[in-house]
C-alpha cells in the first residue's frame, strides 16, 4: 500500500516536471473528490530563469501553486524570466501582473529583489512575496519575504551523511558559487562534523556566477561527482538543482550514495537511481508558496520576513528511502536541539 502510494506520487511529480514550460491560465478544474471553495483570488507567479520544468526550485514553487489551485480554487498566471534580461524587464513582468489585478504576486528567486523593490511601492494594495530574499519587507509593508533555513536542513543531512559514510570522506556539490548555496555548504559541513569531527569533506561548485548553468547541467554534475567518488567519498550531497541528475548517475555507476535537494528526489528519480538516493534535504518552496496563497485566500496574508525553518517544517530531510532509517534517530535528536536553540547552525562558510 505504501509503495503504491509512493509510486503514484512519483508519477504525479514526474508529470509535473515534464509539463510544458508555457504559461498556463487554465482556471482550476473541479478538484476530484475533495471539496473546495472557489476563490476569487488571482495569484501571479513570476519564475526565475528555467521556469516550470526546471526540476528544481521553480518546480517546487509550481507544485505549491498547483496545490493551491486544486485545493483553494484560485486563478493563476505564471510568467517566466529570459536569460540575460535586465531588471527593467523583470519590473515589467511584475507590473503587468499587478496591473492585471493579480494579488498575491510571488516572485521566485532573489534575482527579483531589485525589480520588486521598484514595483512594490507603486501598487500598495497588491500583496507581493519573494522567495529567497529578506531585504525588501522591512521597507515595503506589502512585500512578504519567504526565506528558508537551508543551513539547518543541510546540517541534518550532513549528520546523516557522516553516519552513513564508511570511508570518513563525503562530498558537497554546489550548483553555482553564490552566497545562497554557500549557506547549504556551511550547514552540511557543520552537521557532518558534529557527528565525526575528523571527517574529510570535498566541496565543489559547478560554475561561477554569472554563469548559472551549474543549476541545470547534469553533465557537469556527473563529472564532479565522479571525481569525488574516485577520490574516496562515499556520500555526496548536491545543491545543484537540475545538475543533480548527473550526481545520481555517478552514484549509480560508483555504487555509492548521494543526497538530493529541495524536494524528495527519491520519489521522482528513475528506478535504478532510487537505491542510491539516501535522503534529500527538503526546502519546501511549495509549502511557502502554498502558505502564502492560503493566507491570501483567508484574507490575512503573511507579512514581513517568513523564515521557513526546521521549527516550521520549512526545511527537513526525507525518509522515503528505508536505507536512511538507521541514521534518522541521531538526525531527529539534532533537529530537536536546533529547534530548542541548543545548536546554532552557521549560515556562512
Amino acid at each position: 500500500m505504501k509503495i503504491a502510494t509512493m509510486l503514484a506520487a512519483g508519477a504525479l511529480a514526474l508529470a509535473a516536471c515534464s509539463s510544458s514550460t508555457s504559461g498556463t491560465t487554465t482556471t482550476s478544474p473541479a478538484p476530484a473528490g475533495s471539496a473546495s471553495a472557489k476563490s476569487d483570488v488571482k495569484v501571479g507567479l513570476a519564475y526565475d530563469i528555467g521556469g516550470r520544468g526546471d526540476q528544481s526550485f521553480n518546480d517546487a514553487a509550481a507544485r505549491g501553486l498547483d496545490q493551491a489551485k486544486t485545493e483553494l480554487g484560485v486563478e493563476v498566471k505564471e510568467l517566466e524570466a529570459t536569460a540575460g534580461e535586465t531588471d527593467a524587464q523583470k519590473e515589467e513582468r511584475l507590473t503587468t501582473l499587478a496591473e492585471a489585478g493579480y494579488s498575491p504576486i510571488i516572485a521566485v528567486g532573489f534575482a527579483y529583489a531589485t525589480s520588486l523593490g521598484a514595483v512594490a511601492p507603486k501598487f500598495p494594495k497588491t500583496t507581493f512575496a519573494i522567495v529567497d530574499d529578506a531585504s525588501l519587507s522591512e521597507k515595503n509593508p506589502n512585500v512578504t519575504s519567504l526565506v528558508f533555513a537551508e543551513n539547518q536542513g543541510s546540517y541534518l543531512v550532513g549528520a546523516i551523511a557522516a553516519q552513513a559514510s564508511k570511508t570518513g570522506n563525503i562530498g558537497f556539490i554546489g550548483g553555482v558559487n553564490v552566497p545562497l548555496i554557500q549557506k547549504f555548504q556551511a550547514g552540511f559541513e557543520a552537521g557532518a562534523k558534529s557527528v565525526n569531527p575528523n571527517i574529510k569533506i570535498q566541496a565543489k561548485y559547478l560554475t561561477e556566477p554569472p554563469d548559472f548553468s551549474g543549476f541545470g547541467d547534469p553533465q557537469k554534475g556527473q563529472v564532479a561527482a565522479d571525481g569525488m567518488y574516485q577520490a574516496g567519498a562515499d556520500v555526496v550531497y548536491h545543491a545543484a538543482g537540475g545538475s543533480g541528475g548527473g550526481v545520481f548517475k555517478a552514484a549509480v555507476a560508483a555504487n555509492k550514495l548521494a543526497i538530493g535537494v529541495d524536494s524528495d528526489q527519491y520519489l521522482t528519480a528513475p528506478a535504478d537511481q532510487k537505491p542510491v538516493i539516501l535522503t534529500s534535504m527538503l526546502k519546501r518552496v511549495d509549502v511557502a508558496v502554498y502558505d502564502m496563497v492560503k493566507s491570501s485566500v483567508d484574507k490575512a496574508p503573511l507579512t514581513g520576513v517568513q523564515t521557513f525553518d526546521l521549527a516550521k517544517d520549512g526545511v527537513g530531510f526525507s525518509t522515503s528511502n528505508d536505507a536512511v532509517t538507521p541514521y534518522t534517530a541521531k538526525a531527529d535528536e539534532l533537529k530537536a536541539q536546533i529547534i530548542s536553540g541548543a545548536i546554532t547552525v552557521p549560515d556562512k562558510m
Binding site: S22, G84, D87, T96, D133, A134, S145, E208, P209, P210
Partner: protein
Amino acid sequence: MIGRFSIRGVALSVAAPLLAIVFALTVTSLVLLATGNAPLGAFSTMLAQLEKPRIQVNILNSATTYYLSAIAVAIGFRMKLFNIGVDGQYRLAAMLAAAVGGAIALPPVFHVATIILVAMFVGALWAGIAAVLKVTRGISEVISTIMLNFIATGIVAYLLAPGRLAVEITGSNNIGTKVIPESGRVPGLPIIPGTPNLVFGMIIMAIIVGVGYWFVINRTRFGFDLRATGASETAAVASGVNVKKMIIVTMLLSGAVAGLVGMPQLLGDSYTYGLDFPTGLGFTGIAIALLGRNNPIGIAFGALLWSFLDNTSNSLEFDNVPKQTVLIMQGVIVLSVVIAYELVRRYRIRMVASDVGRQLDAELVTTAAQGGSA
C-alpha cells in the same frame, strides 16, 4: 543614368530587409500555427504593447545597450576581425568600473567620466590580450576571445565576493559592488510622456558612439585602412597598411566600446554590479551587428527591433503564447537577413556588370554617331 542607378539602388537596399522580415514572419507564423496559436493574434498583441509608454521606455533602454554592443562587434567585423569576446569585455569592465565608481567620491561629471573611462580602459585591455595573441602568436581571435570570456567570468566571480570587491546586501542572497553614489550616476531623460520611467541618459552616449563610428570608418584614413584590410588583407598590405598594427588598434577600439555596453544599465538603473547584472549582451550584439550589416543606421534599427521583440515577449506569455516564440523569431530574422542580403548582393553585382556592358555599348553607339569625339 545616375538617377536610374540610385533609384534602383534604393529599391535594392530596401528589398533585402523587407524580404528578410517577410520571410521571418512567415516562418514564425508557421511555428505559431504548429504550436496551436494564432499568428495574427500574437503579432497584434506584441504591436499593441508599443502603445504603452512604459514599454517604449524599456525598448529604448534595452536598445541603447544593444546598440553599443553591436557597434563594438561591428568595429571588428568591418576588418573581418571577429570579436566574440564583447561579452566578457563588458562584464569585466562593468564590474571593475562599478567597483571603482562605488569606492571613490568625485564631483558629479568627473565621477561619471571616471567610471566610463575605467570601463573603456578595462574593455580595451581585455580585447587587447586577444589582439596581442593574434599578432604575436597567430592565434585566431575567435578562439582567444571565447576563452577570455570564460576567464572574465572566473575573474568576476572571484572578485565579486564579500571582502573583495563586493558587499553583502542585508537579507538578500544577492551580492554586488558598493552602490555608486548620486554623483556617479547618469540621470534619466523624461522624453517619453505618460510614465515616470526615464530613458537612460546614456542613450546620448550611444548616439555619439554611432556617429563617431560612422565618421571614423567612412571619413578617416584610419577607417579606410580598416575597411581595406577587411575587404582584402593582401591588397591592404600592398597598399602600405600595417595589418598587425591595425589588428591591435581595432581590437582596442572594439574593446573600449564593449566596455561601454554595461554603462547604461550600471549608471542609469542598477548603480551596482550584482549577480543579477544582465549577461549575454555581447552575443546579442553579434546578432544585431549582422542584422544591421555593420552600418550604424542599420544597427540602430536592428537594436530597436531586437529590443521590441524582447520587451514585448512578456505580453505573449500573458496571452499563453510561449515566449520562446520570440527567440525563434530573433534567430530566424538574423538568418533571413544574412541570406537576403547575400541574394540581393549577388543580384546587384550581376545588374551592375550587365549595366557596365550595356553602358559601354551605348557609349560606343553615341561615340560613333558623334564621329568619335569622346
